[in-house]
């Protein structure tokens, strides 16, 4: 029963999943690839965004408003974390900061999971109820199309900011040589805050688009973080375009592997790809 139409539909779903992965990967890459903090709590922020949106929906808000409010809320939370916890992390330098970043965000994610599951223990979804859209004989999932549109728009805005503005370009200086950045007049702390908050917004959006087609619980956070790590590795840790390419590639591979071979193989392919990339060409990555 494998028709061209089905293949197209699977491919679109794959791209949608890929866009989700790309957003997560970009979220990690922004903060780590350009910086030093490997944000292990990133998945938790994705989940929180979905929960915020669900709460807003429950208050009778429309979906779009709920999503916007959720993104603002999760970003504000990111800002709070940045001003408090991360400020403490940034007191140390070099390798120690990298490790402290890993450990602090690990503690943070345990805290968030523990606290949030008390109030929101369920699985949450933000169904779009758009059904399927016939595209030339293929029954393409409507939610996938929306995910692709929203995700791509976000990525474009992000790129415009980083590539076209002086501030966007200056973000790289901070992460390459903090003192050097200070010496040319960049305020590293501000750049860090900006980047962290941006990454949280991107991760929040990732969670939300994921919840369009599936559902999310507090426990999904870890899974998301792992996805984010894999994507950012395959894409080359420091490269945003790499993360996007890797996200799309893995999304499509994953969806087709699911369709044809199913089961664990898809997962193992995903992790396997990451391992192969890591072993084969780390100079691209480090």
């Amino acid at each position: 029963m494998v028709t061209i139409g089905t293949m197209v539909a699977v491919a679109v779903d794959g791209i949608a999943f890929g866009v989700f992965l790309a957003l997560l990967g970009v979220g990690i890459t922004l903060v780590f690839g350009l910086g030093d903090v490997l944000n292990l709590a990133i998945g938790a922020f994705s989940v929180l965004a979905v929960i915020f949106a669900t709460v807003m929906l429950g208050r009778g808000q429309g979906l779009v408003v709920a999503i916007l409010v959720a993104l603002v809320a999760v970003t504000a939370l990111g800002l709070l974390i940045d001003r408090t916890l991360l400020s403490l992390v940034y007191r140390s330098e070099g390798e120690e900061r990298i490790l402290l970043g890993i450990f602090t965000t690990l503690g943070l994610v345990i805290f968030i999971d523990g606290a949030v599951s008390n109030f929101y223990p369920a699985r949450y979804t933000l169904p779009l109820d758009v059904g399927v859209v016939p595209v030339g004989g293929a029954a393409v999932t409507g939610s996938s199309l929306v995910i692709i549109a929203v995700g791509v728009a976000m990525l474009l805005v992000l790129f415009a900011f980083l590539r076209r503005t002086f501030v966007g370009k200056a973000t790289r200086t901070v992460f390459q040589d903090e003192r050097g950045a200070q010496l040319v007049g960049v305020n590293p702390r501000r750049i860090r805050t900006l980047i962290f908050v941006l990454s949280i917004a991107v991760a929040g959006l990732a969670g939300i688009v994921f919840a369009f087609g599936s559902n999310v619980s507090v426990a999904s956070g870890f899974q998301f973080t792992v996805y984010a790590l894999i994507v950012s590795i395959v894409g080359g840790v420091r490269s945003l375009t790499g993360a996007i390419g890797a996200g799309l590639l893995l999304g499509i591979v994953n969806e087709f592997a699911n369709f044809f071979v199913g089961s664990y193989v898809a997962m193992i392919i995903l992790f396997g790809t990451a391992i192969v990339v890591l072993v084969a060409k780390p100079e691209v990555i480090s």
């Binding site: 029963m1 089905t6 539909a9 699977v10 779903d13 999943f17 669900t54 999971d113 523990g114 599951s117 008390n118 223990p121 369920a122 699985r123 949450y124 979804t125 169904p127 109820d129 059904g131 399927v132 029954a139 999932t141 409507g142 939610s143 087609g213 599936s214 559902n215 619980s217 507090v218 426990a219 999904s220 899974q223 969806e255 699911n258 369709f259 199913g262 089961s263 664990y264 898809a266 997962m267």
Partner: protein, 377 residues
């Protein structure tokens, strides 16, 4: 015996302690919350009625975080330090398996909340009793009856690639006459579209109960992809979780499975009392906690002493009328015997017994009493 280790006899005065090993954090926290509340409500009722053997019942609650090792040590602590004579609360299979071992070693009974994996109960098991969840095969058997009763002919199933899903899969082969399109998905999957796309277009019933963590997503996605099955059989998920996570289409077809019977007067009575007391809705899963509390009180009373072994023995012989369609009774290994499996739709309206409620039930079908599964070695 060594295993009793001096703890767990509960002494002869003061309260009788019940260990509640609840996964209050982690993936099953929603299960734990309602179970604990129901259990507490039952204990309060028992105590209000003069307690058991003229002693109060007391809960010793621990958060296991759904971690087997934590559950094990909490179990021991409760028994040895706090003198618990019985325990309850396991939800995930891992925890159930580990706790079953501890129960055997300590010779202190455990009443499973969920943890429906076959392997929890073997022919050697003496201290583990199922309450809220039957083995997968039992559910499939009940669904086979419903399926043929409805005269369906097109059927699909998605099962998880782990013990529960695989025993559902073999039960499907065993109990269904029709040709079933069975897809095996990993346990951690959260997107089922590619499995669903392999289903026949005229799908009438989809068994999602072989993949408990994914069943709500499966229901959502099957309708999203334009299929229109009459029934999607779900897992034993606490209903308060369902109304939020199912899309409108999916709510129509999704059926919630339960051992407790929300359509009886007894249930309504308990639910009213509970609602007044706790300002929360008493549901099919709250009922498992409640049933456990009431049943173990009765069994202790029956045993005539607050002793774990005697309690286990009494439970094996009990016929306990409670919120289930048929009285609770057990095979010698602790499998539920003659249990009735009920499938209900979730309606998004308040029930009669709790006006602030957000959901109620509509019965779709129920099985005949199912004989206890004969455990393997």
């Amino acid at each position: 015996s060594e295993g009793g280790n001096g703890g767990g006899n509960g002494g002869s005065s003061g309260p009788i302690t019940v260990a509640a090993l609840e996964p209050l954090s982690g993936p099953f926290s929603a299960w734990a919350g309602v179970h604990r509340a129901g259990l507490q409500f039952a204990v309060d009722e028992v105590n209000a009625d003069g307690g058991v053997l003229d002693r109060e019942l007391e809960l010793d609650v621990t958060d296991t975080g759904s971690d087997p090792a934590e559950a094990d040590s909490a179990f021991r602590r409760s028994v040895e330090q706090n003198g618990a004579i019985v325990s309850t609360g396991a939800v995930s299979s891992d925890v159930g398996l580990r706790v079953a071992q501890t129960a055997a070693e300590l010779e202190v009974p455990h009443f499973l909340h969920m943890s429906g994996t076959d392997d929890v109960i073997t022919q050697d098991t003496q201290y583990v009793f199922r309450v809220g969840l039957l083995p997968a095969s039992t559910y499939i058997r009940a669904q086979a009856t419903a399926f043929s009763d409805a005269g369906y002919s097109s059927l699909g199933a998605i099962v998880g690639d782990y013990a529960w899903g695989r025993s559902a899969e073999s039960a499907i082969e065993e109990y269904f006459d029709a040709d079933v399109n069975v897809q095996v998905a990993p346990l951690g999957a959260d997107d089922f579209k590619s499995y669903i796309r392999q289903m026949p277009d005229d799908l009438e019933m989809l068994i999602a109960s072989g993949h408990p963590p994914g069943s709500a997503t499966i229901a959502n996605q099957v309708y999203e992809l334009g299929y229109t099955p009459d029934v999607v059989s779900g897992a034993s998920t606490p209903p308060q979780l369902l109304s939020g996570v199912l899309s409108d289409d999916a709510l129509e077809g999704y059926v919630h499975v339960h051992q407790s019977d929300p359509y009886t007067d007894q249930f309504v009575d308990a639910a009213e009392g509970f609602g007044e007391e706790n300002d929360a809705q008493f549901n099919t899963h709250t009922a498992y906690g409640y049933m456990t509390g009431k049943m173990l009180a009765a069994a202790i009373e029956e045993a005539g002493e607050a002793d774990p072994a005697a309690l286990a023995e009494a439970t094996r012989n009990i016929q306990f009328e409670t919120l289930s369609p048929e009285p609770m009774q057990y095979s010698q290994y602790g499998e539920l015997d003659q249990a009735v499996v009920t499938y209900s739709r979730i309606l998004q309206e308040a029930p009669s017994y709790y006006s602030d409620g957000e959901y109620s039930y509509e019965e779709l079908f129920r099985s005949d009493p199912v004989p206890a599964r004969e455990p393997g070695q």
